[in-house]
C-alpha cells in the first residue's frame, strides 16, 4: 500500500512546541500565518515582529527572521524595518492588550501613515499572559481579574472596536475581522490573512486582520465552551467582515 501525504506541518512554522494553553486558538492563527507565508513563497523575504503578552514568544514559532518589540510598540518597530527594507514583507503579531491599550498610538499612527505592513491582531477580550485582567476589548459585563464584578461601562468605560476605528483612517488599505471559533470561520480567517499580505505585496498600505480568539484559562471555560463563547458573545459585539478594502472601494 502506498502512503500519500495529505496533511503536514507548514514550513512557515518551526518545530518548536508552542507554550499556549489548551484550547487557545493562538496555535491555529500561527499556523494560518505560517501557511500563507509558505504558500506565497515569501518566508525568506519576511521579517516578523513579536509583541508582548501571550504571543511574546512567537519569534520562536515563525520560521522567518523575527524581532521582539516592547509592549505595544510593534507597529513602530515594524515601521523602522519596513522603511529600511521596503521590498521585504513585514508583519506584527499582537494581542488586544498590546495593540488596543498600551500600543494604541503606535497602531493608529502606523495605520494613518499607511505603513505598508500587515498587522495580525488577536483579540481574546482579556489580558492572557498577566493573568486575566481587563483589556480595552473586554466586553461589558465580562468578569476579569480587574473587573471581578463584570466590566461596568460607567466605571471602566466601553470596549474599543479596533477594526471599525482604524478603517476610518485614509491610510488603511485592508481591514477585516474574522473569527477562529469553527472551521468555516478559520478558513475565512486564512483567506483574510492572505488578502492582507497580498495587499502589502501590492504596496497598497496598512493591512490588518483582527482574529477573535479564545482564552479558556482566563475565561474559566473549557475549550469547547470557549469556542461557543466567542460565537455567542464576541461575534455579536465585534461583527465579522471586511471593514475596508481599497481595491474594492469598500468601506463599511
Amino acid at each position: 500500500m502506498t502512503m500519500k501525504t495529505v496533511f503536514e506541518k507548514t514550513a512557515g512554522l518551526t518545530d518548536t512546541q508552542t507554550h499556549y494553553c489548551p484550547g487557545c486558538t493562538h496555535g491555529i492563527i500561527h499556523r494560518m500565518v505560517g501557511e500563507v507565508l509558505e504558500e506565497m513563497g515569501i518566508l525568506e523575504d519576511t521579517v516578523g515582529v513579536a509583541s508582548v503578552g501571550c504571543s511574546v514568544l512567537s519569534y520562536e514559532y515563525f520560521n522567518c527572521d523575527m524581532t521582539q518589540a516592547a509592549h505595544g510598540r510593534a507597529p513602530a518597530v515594524a515601521t523602522g524595518i519596513k522603511r529600511v527594507l521596503p521590498d521585504r514583507f513585514v508583519f506584527t503579531y499582537q494581542g488586544d492588550g498590546d495593540l488596543a491599550s498600551i500600543g494604541i498610538a503606535e497602531a493608529v499612527h502606523a495605520a494613518a501613515r499607511g505603513e505598508n505592513i500587515t498587522v495580525i491582531f488577536v483579540n481574546n477580550a482579556i489580558y492572557g499572559m498577566t493573568g486575566g485582567q481587563m483589556a480595552p476589548t473586554t466586553l461589558v459585563g465580562q468578569k476579569t481579574a480587574t473587573t471581578p464584578f463584570g466590566r461596568n461601562a460607567s466605571i471602566q468605560g466601553l470596549p474599543i472596536r479596533v477594526s471599525e476605528m482604524l478603517s476610518t483612517l485614509d491610510g488603511t488599505a485592508y481591514i477585516e475581522r474574522v473569527s477562529s471559533h469553527d472551521v468555516p470561520n478559520i478558513l475565512k480567517a486564512k483567506k483574510a490573512i492572505r488578502k492582507a499580505f497580498e495587499t502589502q505585496k501590492q504596496g497598497l498600505g496598512f493591512s490588518m486582520v483582527e482574529v477573535l480568539s479564545s482564552c479558556p484559562t482566563n475565561w474559566g471555560l473549557d475549550p469547547n465552551e470557549s469556542l461557543d463563547w466567542i460565537k455567542d458573545n464576541m461575534v455579536p459585539a465585534y461583527p465579522l467582515g471586511v471593514y475596508k478594502d481599497v481595491q474594492k472601494g469598500d468601506v463599511r
Partner: protein, 354 residues
C-alpha cells in the same frame, strides 16, 4: 571643503550624514528641533529617509526596528523627550542593537524650560531605563568636536552592538560656530550577520530579542553584557587635560560648562594661580585615570556643572578621598558665567587676587 558657519544642532545632523547615517526617526522638541528639521531636508539628498514619529516612544522603537536591519540609524531629543525614549534604550541594550541617540539637554525636572542644562547626567550615565546597564556617552564641548564624536559614536555603537548617547545641551545646540567637514564620501554599509533582513537563502532565521525567561540564561546574557561594558570601559575612555602638570587645583567640567570654565581658568592662570582642568569627553565610561594621576598631589578639585551636582559623584569616586572635591553648579537653565566660576576658583585657592 573650507569652514562653514553652522548651528550646533545642524552640525550634529550633518556629522551623522558624514558618518553614514541614512535613517532618522524623531519628534520635535526644543532646543533640538533644528536637528530634526535639518534631517528632514538633508536625508533625501543622500538617498536616506527621515520620518517624524507620533511620539518619542514611537521614534525610538522605529530606531529599534531599523537598527535590527543593520543600518546606521539615529534619533534625537531633549530632556523630557529623552525620558520617554528610556524604554526603547533599555530594549536596544538588551537586544544588543547599535544606534545613536542624541540628547540636547534643557532645564528640568518635568517640563522645566528650554534653556541649557546638564541635569540628565545621572540618567545618561547610570542606565536611565530599567535593568542593569550602561550606554557609552560622548559629550562634545565645541561644534567642531561634535563632528568627530558623532562619527566615533556610530563606530562605538557598531563595534559593541550598543546604543550610544551623544550628549549636548541647549547652548551647544543653539550656538553657531565655524566648522569644517571632510569631503562626504559614499560609505559601504557594513554587513551584519545578525541583522534581521529576511533570511534570503542564508539559512536559519535570526531573532532579535531581549527576552530570556530562564533566570540562569538571563544571568548569562547579563554577564555577557557586563563583559562588554568592561571592554568599553577599557577601550573607549576619552578626556582632555589642560595645564594639569603643575596645577595645585583642578577644575573639572564637560560640554558647555567646560568651555566657560576654561576661560575662568585662563584668567586665573594669568593672575598667577596654578589651576588646571580635566574635561571628561566620555561621561560613561568615566575617565578615572586623570583624577588618579593627580589626586595625590593637588590641593583640591572643583566640579563645575549646569546641574545641582551629578558628575561630582563620579569625581569623588575617582578621587577616593585623597583630595577635597568641591562643587559649583547652576540649575534651571541658568548658565554659569566665567566670573562666577573664577570666583569659585579663588574661593577654592583660599586667596584673594589683587
Amino acid at each position: 571643503m573650507g569652514k562653514v558657519l553652522m548651528k550646533g544642532n545642524e552640525v550634529i545632523a550633518e556629522a551623522a550624514v558624514h558618518a553614514g547615517c541614512k535613517y532618522f526617526f524623531g519628534y520635535p522638541i526644543t532646543p533640538q528641533s533644528e536637528l530634526v528639521a535639518y534631517m528632514a531636508r538633508r536625508l533625501p539628498e543622500v538617498g536616506g529617509l527621515f520620518l517624524q514619529a507620533e511620539s518619542e516612544v514611537a521614534a525610538i522603537n522605529m530606531v529599534y526596528g531599523a537598527a535590527g536591519t543593520g543600518v546606521r540609524v539615529m534619533t534625537s531629543s531633549s530632556s523630557p523627550g529623552f525620558s520617554l525614549k528610556q524604554e526603547g534604550i533599555s530594549y536596544l541594550v538588551g537586544a544588543e542593537l547599535p544606534a545613536l541617540i542624541v540628547n540636547v539637554m534643557r532645564g528640568g525636572p518635568g517640563l522645566g524650560n528650554i534653556q541649557p542644562a546638564q541635569s540628565d547626567y545621572f540618567q545618561v550615565t547610570k542606565g536611565g531605563g530599567h535593568g542593569d546597564y550602561h550606554t557609552p556617552v560622548l559629550a562634545p564641548s565645541t561644534l567642531q568636536e561634535i563632528i568627530d564624536l558623532t562619527e566615533a559614536a556610530f563606530d562605538i555603537a557598531d563595534r559593541y552592538r550598543t546604543p550610544v548617547i551623544l550628549l549636548g545641551d541647549g547652548m551647544l545646540g543653539q550656538m553657531m560656530e565655524p566648522v569644517e567637514f571632510k569631503e562626504l564620501k559614499e560609505r559601504e554599509p557594513e554587513q551584519k550577520e545578525w541583522a534581521t533582513t529576511g533570511t534570503r537563502g542564508d539559512g536559519k532565521p535570526r531573532v532579535i530579542t531581549s527576552l530570556e525567561l530562564n533566570a540562569d540564561a538571563l544571568e548569562k546574557r547579563n554577564e555577557h553584557l557586563q563583559k562588554k561594558f568592561a571592554l568599553i570601559q577599557q577601550n573607549e575612555v576619552r578626556y582632555e587635560t589642560y595645564e594639569t602638570e603643575d596645577a595645585e587645583y583642578i577644575v573639572t567640567a564637560y560640554g558647555t560648562a567646560a568651555r566657560i570654565a576654561m576661560n575662568a581658568i585662563n584668567k586665573a592662570r594669568k593672575d598667577g594661580l596654578k589651576i588646571g582642568m580635566i574635561r571628561p569627553i566620555t561621561l560613561w565610561p568615566f575617565p578615572e585615570l586623570p583624577f588618579v594621576e593627580t589626586r595625590d598631589r593637588v590641593k583640591g578639585f572643583l566640579s563645575v556643572e549646569m546641574s545641582a551636582g551629578q558628575m561630582v559623584e563620579d569625581v569623588r569616586l575617582a578621587v577616593e578621598g585623597k583630595a577635597p572635591v568641591s562643587f559649583f553648579g547652576r540649575t534651571g537653565g541658568v548658565v554659569p558665567t566665567q566670573e562666577e566660576i573664577y570666583d569659585q576658583i579663588i574661593k577654592l585657592a583660599g586667596g584673594v587676587v589683587v
